[in-house]
């Protein structure tokens, strides 16, 4: 395959040129190796040619919750969102805390998934936060990181030992930062709206406390801890200060934490119920600053599908989370590049390619010669309207139906083959 006339943005190789990109036998190649017959040609005039995007925070729900999403449907959703690699979380049933479950996931992905699926393993057995999971064996089984996402190890001593152990086997640690005591049964950001509506609050301090815990442990254990779905201004501040001192800490952002504030919950629509919750404008502004100055280095979705009947209940009973694979790129380009002008498209691509690949040690995120031919074509100025009934995902729990966005992936190529195009 050869992609012509596109603006090739390859942050790993510091490339930003309008040139042709060739792929042979599933790998990026030098142009001179192209034989002209049987070569599929794609005209990418006006488009950006980027390394295949990586979403490192996705819930694929299999095994155990196939009514919400399957590996197959999640992969299709990823492709439709412009992602060639997704990293799936271990809060399945059974939890991905053992090599057998990892093997099952990898097999399933090989059979049914059109994009690269990389599993994570649990930090604690059954994600219960009490005993270490078989971290070493999980590493051998091929997980790219460990996390208890969905949950958070509360016992700092246990977390410390997990981080030390993960360092030994060379696995990064990802953490969903939530102090259960401070948060209690909070369902929305603790602030004006929770006070007005009488809903239990989820204070920002509940996330900031654990971000601080992770900074201390990253220093103590000399190992990287990545803080997932950052939502609070204080978290951004702590991470910024720690990184300035060279601590191995990082943070990621999901689009809803900059697209919406807690004002959105006032009609008790469960499509605005996430964990961590939507917060106030000051938090949104802090996150935007954090992205602009590099404090927060990775973008992702926290794609959390739930069936309609599960979300269509009383607000405090509804499960947390929204789907995100098919809207995240559009939202981020629209908000970060066009609306708030916090970063340029190159920086955005870097946050979806080089950064997650570096964190997780992946052979991905670049267009270097010999790299896997995973490519995403993006039209950064395409105007489109989100239509949830056209989603590839099995689930429809999204607050963005009808949103008009500027910027979208138009073709997703995995291993040199188009797996989705607009």
């Amino acid at each position: 395959m050869i992609i012509r006339n596109g603006r090739v943005i390859d942050p790993a190789n510091k490339r930003d040129d309008v040139i042709d990109l060739a792929m042979v036998d599933g790998k990026i190649s030098e142009r001179s190796e192209i034989r002209n017959q049987e070569t599929e040609t794609i005209d990418a005039k006006g488009l950006i040619v980027a390394p295949g995007l990586i979403d490192m925070h996705v819930h694929l729900r299999e095994p155990g919750f196939g009514h919400k999403e399957t590996i197959e449907s999640g992969a299709r959703a990823a492709a439709a969102g412009g992602f060639t690699t997704i990293v799936c979380m271990p809060n399945t049933s059974p939890a991905a805390d053992n090599p057998a479950t990892i093997a099952w996931i990898k097999d399933r992905a090989k059979e049914t998934a059109g994009v690269n699926i990389l599993p994570t393993g649990a930090i604690s057995k059954n994600i219960a936060g009490e005993e270490l999971a078989l971290i070493g064996s999980l590493g051998r089984a091929g997980v790219v990181a460990i996390t208890d996402d969905g949950h958070c190890v509360q016992n700092h001593e246990l977390m410390r030992r997990a981080v030390e152990y993960a360092r030994m086997v060379g696995l990064p640690v990802l953490d969903h930062c939530q102090d259960y005591n401070l948060v209690g049964n909070g369902v929305v950001n603790e602030g004006y709206w929770s006070t007005l509506l009488g809903l239990p609050g989820w204070p920002a301090a509940g996330e900031e406390a654990i971000v601080m815990r992770n900074i201390l442990l990253a220093e103590l254990c000399d190992h990287h801890i990545h803080c997932q779905h950052i939502s609070a201004a204080g978290s951004v501040r702590f991470i910024r200060e720690a990184r300035a001192r060279g601590v191995k800490i990082s943070g990621e952002v999901c689009p809803h934490h900059i697209a919406l504030t807690d004002e959105a919950i006032q009609n008790f629509d469960t499509n605005y119920k996430m964990n961590p919750p939507l917060r106030a404008k000051a938090d949104v502004d802090a996150i935007l600053e954090g992205i602009a100055d590099g404090t927060l280095s990775i973008l992702c979705s926290d794609h959390a599908p739930h069936a309609g009947f599960e979300k269509e209940v009383e607000f405090d009973q509804a499960p947390f989370g929204i789907v995100g694979l098919e809207t995240e790129l559009g939202l981020f380009i629209d908000l970060l590049v066009h609306k708030h002008r916090k970063i340029d498209i190159k920086h955005l691509i870097k946050m979806y390619t080089v950064e997650p690949a570096k964190l997780l040690n992946l052979d991905a995120g670049t267009l270097s010669a010999g790299a896997p031919a995973d490519v995403t074509l993006i039209d950064p100025d395409l105007d489109w309207t989100v239509k949830i009934d056209q989603f590839q995902s099995l689930s429809r729990n999204s607050p963005f139906d009808g949103w008009k966005l500027k910027g979208r992936a138009v073709r997703t190529i995995v291993g040199g083959k188009t797996v989705w195009s607009l």
Binding site: G198, L199, E312, V313, E314, F315
Partner: protein, 309 residues
């Protein structure tokens, strides 16, 4: 006053205009009169079916709605959480749809989840009346409290209303705050700082922990019931200390202006948030609240239940 009512539901006071609140109160005036007739019944809701769906139990509020419905000649059915199929795992949505299939015209809902009445109102053709949803709103209580103040003091605007107790978890407090501020009253919330966080100031009210400084300036004191149950254990150390710091004891009541009203939504914890003698004293209008509750609920059922579908 001639605005017409066009809402099929009463979910809270926050979304009502001052006009609408006053309209309900004036309608309640008319219905209060019905309670003084020999035959305390009017046919306004004859042939309509009202279902009291109390997922969170309550005897007094349910009885008040039931009586109000009877006086309007509606047919009443009572369903509680234990008798309903919710215990068998049926979702709220399915339970409600079943009720509507029985052609329920009005659904009075009390539920422990904030937003539950709105959830049903959006999905059902029936009128939905919020009888209390979690810590969110209890609009008929707010209305009857305001009605009582207006009845005794002739007006609402510029009165200083002091609400004392567990505000953070109180739907009665919120409905009162929304209604009173909309009608121009000055509201002060008093209680332990853990239960009356400063954040409430953004709702247009004052916040204080100094009950003895606030009481002499009050025109109305509304006491909320305090409980030291599991969910509140971390918020204050115990009933004894609460009473010492915030209870309206006989002594404290001497600080009140002579025409200050003493109110309580009930049921009263005698000796805890209020001393027995104060509860039964001359300034107490607690029993008027109950009578007025009936008139207000009749007005609400009449207005919402009478909308042509």
């Amino acid at each position: 006053m001639s605005i017409y009512w066009n809402r099929k539901d009463l979910l809270g006071l926050r979304e009502l205009s001052a006009h609408e609140i006053n309209f309900i109160l004036e309608t309640a005036d008319a219905f209060k009169q019905v309670g003084t007739r020999e035959v305390k019944k009017v046919p306004a809701l004859r042939g309509k079916t009202l279902i009291n769906f109390f997922v969170e139990p309550s005897t007094r509020t349910r009885t008040s709605f039931e009586l109000a419905a009877h006086r309007l000649s509606a047919d009443v059915i009572n369903i509680s959480a234990t008798t309903s199929s919710l215990t068998k795992g049926e979702t709220l949505k399915d339970t409600a749809r079943n009720l509507q299939a029985l052609h329920a015209d009005i659904l009075v809902l009390r539920h422990s989840s904030a937003g539950a009445p709105q959830f049903l109102a959006e999905r059902l053709k029936s009128s939905v009346i919020n009888a209390g949803d979690g810590a969110h709103e209890h609009p008929t209580q707010g209305l009857l409290d305001i009605y009582t103040i207006r009845e005794k003091r002739g007006k609402i605007d510029n009165l200083h209303v002091v609400i004392i107790g567990d505000i953070l978890f109180s739907r009665v407090a919120r409905s009162n705050i929304f209604g009173l501020t909309k009608l121009g009253a000055r509201v002060t919330l008093v209680g332990p700082s853990t239960l009356v966080p400063r954040e409430f100031e953004k709702l247009g009210v004052a916040v204080s922990n100094q009950i003895d400084k606030v009481l002499p300036d009050a025109d109305v004191v509304n006491l909320l019931r305090i409980q030291h149950e599991r969910q509140r254990k971390e918020y204050f150390p115990g009933i004894g200390e609460y009473t010492t710091l915030f209870g309206l004891t006989k002594e404290r009541a001497k600080l009140l202006k002579p025409d200050c009203l003493v109110m309580h939504p009930g049921p009263i914890n005698r000796g805890v948030e209020i001393d027995s003698e104060v509860a039964d004293g001359l300034q107490s209008v607690i029993l008027d609240q109950v009578t007025n509750g009936l008139a207000v609920r009749m007005a609400v059922l009449y207005l919402c239940g009478g909308i042509a579908t």
